[in-house]
């Protein structure tokens, strides 16, 4: 049990008659990079909100970092990091202030914030910019900083919601270097993306269609199963039959 970062069993979320998440089951290993893919409207966001302790499921079971999604939402929030494409850094705070703010919110002690933030600024090569407003940073840097902030309190799991949207191909790869590093440090990474080449960087991926997990395997096995050499095609074959995306 302790080796699993996330366990979902028949997890369901219903809005009226509509099953946004329809009895999904999967387990994520600790330190795994787990890709969570699906067509628009497949239920990814709803599932992710439940796993982040922001929304209650209708039925089924799930634990995140060992905590129950019904009863221990606050413990979940303390033990995860979250970053989305619309990242939540404050444009009118400096880089250091943003780091301090998030460190404080997550209860990292003041001396610890000090050491870690100066280390972080060094690792990112942002020593000169540390006192600049985040709003002045190029998008690629913001994204790297947002990710670093999301794992600043050393969470067990980090949720990344389309983290690389719109960045150039080089920065996108640097970002994935950081993801690999975090995974190597033992942080479980749960990531959604629309870039199919990025799906290949994951240890395992799920594809959600109409609220259900239609496939769950390593990228290599999925390609074998669908008899193709591109993840793009795997996704297309699975999601093409989606009925509801457009409602």
């Amino acid at each position: 049990m302790e080796d699993k970062a996330i366990i979902c069993k028949d997890l369901t979320k219903q809005f009226g008659d509509f099953k946004a998440v329809d009895s999904i089951s999967f387990e994520v290993e600790r330190g795994e990079i787990f890709g969570f893919l699906g067509a628009n409207g497949a239920g990814k966001t709803t599932a992710m909100r439940i796993l982040c302790g922001l929304s209650f499921p209708t039925s089924g079971k799930a634990t995140v970092a060992g905590f129950d999604v019904y009863k221990q939402q606050e413990s979940i929030k303390k033990n995860i990091g979250y970053m989305s494409q619309k990242f939540s850094l404050y444009d009118n705070l400096t880089i250091l202030e943003n780091i301090e703010f998030y460190g404080g919110v997550y209860g990292v002690s003041r001396p610890e914030i000090k050491t870690r933030s100066s280390d972080l600024v060094k690792t990112l090569g942002l020593e000169k910019e540390a006192k600049k407003l985040v709003g002045e940073l190029p998008l690629g840097w913001k994204q790297k900083l947002a990710f670093s902030v999301a794992i600043f309190h050393r969470p067990k799991i980090v949720f990344l919601d389309e983290p690389t949207g719109g960045v150039d191909p080089i920065t996108r790869r640097q970002f994935w270097d950081m993801i690999y590093q975090a995974a190597a440090d033992g942080i479980t990474v749960f990531v959604t993306t629309h870039y199919m080449d990025e799906a290949e960087y994951c240890n395992r991926i799920t594809v959600m269609v109409d609220g259900r997990v239609e496939a769950l395997d390593t990228p290599t096995n999925l390609k074998k199963r669908f008899n193709t050499d591109s993840m793009d095609d795997v996704f297309y074959q699975l999601a093409r039959g989606a009925k509801r995306g457009e409602n």
Binding site: Q85, L139, D168, M196, P219, A239, R240, G245
Partner: protein
């Protein structure tokens, strides 16, 4: 004849050169792609061409009309779908469409043929408010609204960003049909794989056009043999190869690493020999054809290197 033409267009915001001396032409009936990440200057170029933003200097025409002097003529002849959803969220699908038709002095019925294929897909939701539509449907409605006055040129700013693979394929099929009706289309995208669906593309980065040609030529002008390699632990292999003296460049690309050598060797065995030094299990290497993304990465590195030398 050219449908769109830019000459030495410069646009700055404070110290930032958003568009840096950009010149290019789009022929009538062409499907032309601006390919580049956020902040490359794509949106500024669109806004200048649709006459909603003034350039600092340079000249541009659309359908032969000057973007400054003849902006009224241009506005009647272009359709513009901005990157951000810009329809009225609290009007229904039908109301939005009627509104845009009326503004351009036409009716939905008059140019129905043009939008029929796309409109049919959202017609069942005619009475739904635009704000309540899914991403894919918003995109279709926005395209209908941009087409309702039968424009000569269609400007689409990142129409497929954040859209899943299936909807993206559908969208590009729609563009192909519109192209067959003779409409000139200028489209931007951050997805490099979509570049191959255009007749010609401009690769842009930091306000500069790095390359402009048809996708095949861009790929063929890749100056080095390109190899792919993979191993059981691909991340370790990447770390090793990146620092190897014989490797010129190496980066992750889907399930493989892509790499070029300092030598011009074209045999994949030479890569196997180099990677063999690191005892990578499950090693596999092959010579491959570059993609647009490979070309983009290479041009970007050359460009960044040039900038570093200049400073």
């Amino acid at each position: 004849m050219n449908s769109v033409s830019l000459k030495n267009i410069i646009k700055t915001y404070g110290d930032v050169k958003a568009v840096n001396d950009v010149s290019f032409e789009v022929q009538k009936g062409e499907l032309f792609g601006l390919i580049g990440p956020d902040g490359a200057g794509k949106t500024s170029i669109f806004r200048i061409l649709t006459t909603v933003l003034l350039a600092d200097s340079g000249a541009a025409t659309v359908e032969g009309f000057d973007v400054v002097k003849n902006y009224r003529e241009i506005r009647n002849r272009v359709g513009y779908m901005p990157g951000r959803f810009s329809l009225y969220q609290d009007l229904t699908v039908k109301e939005n469409l009627s509104f845009f038709a009326t503004v351009f002095g036409t009716t939905i019925e008059k140019n129905y043929e043009l939008i029929k294929d796309i409109y049919d897909q959202i017609k069942p939701f005619n009475n739904r408010r635009a704000g309540k539509l899914s991403g894919g449907m918003k995109q279709k409605l926005a395209l209908c609204c941009a087409l309702i006055h039968k424009p000569d040129v269609l400007f689409l700013d990142e129409p497929t960003t954040g859209v899943d693979v299936v909807s993206r394929k559908e969208f590009w099929d729609m563009l192909d049909k519109l192209k067959k009706q003779g409409i000139t289309i200028v489209v931007s995208t951050p997805y490099m794989d979509e570049a191959t669906l255009c007749d010609r593309i401009a690769l842009i980065q930091n306000g500069n056009i790095m390359s402009i040609d048809n996708p095949d030529n861009i790929v063929q002008s890749f100056p080095k043999p390109l190899f792919a390699a993979k191993a059981d632990n691909i991340y370790k292999l990447l770390e090793y190869l990146r620092t190897d003296g014989e490797i010129e460049s190496c980066y992750a690309f889907g399930e493989y690493l892509h790499l070029t050598l300092k030598s011009d060797e074209i045999e994949a065995e030479s890569v196997t020999d180099i990677a063999g030094k690191y005892n990578a299990s499950g090693l596999e290497t092959k010579l491959i054809t570059p993609t647009i993304e490979d070309s983009f990465i290479r041009l970007m590195n050359e460009y960044n290197h040039g900038e570093a030398v200049k400073n």
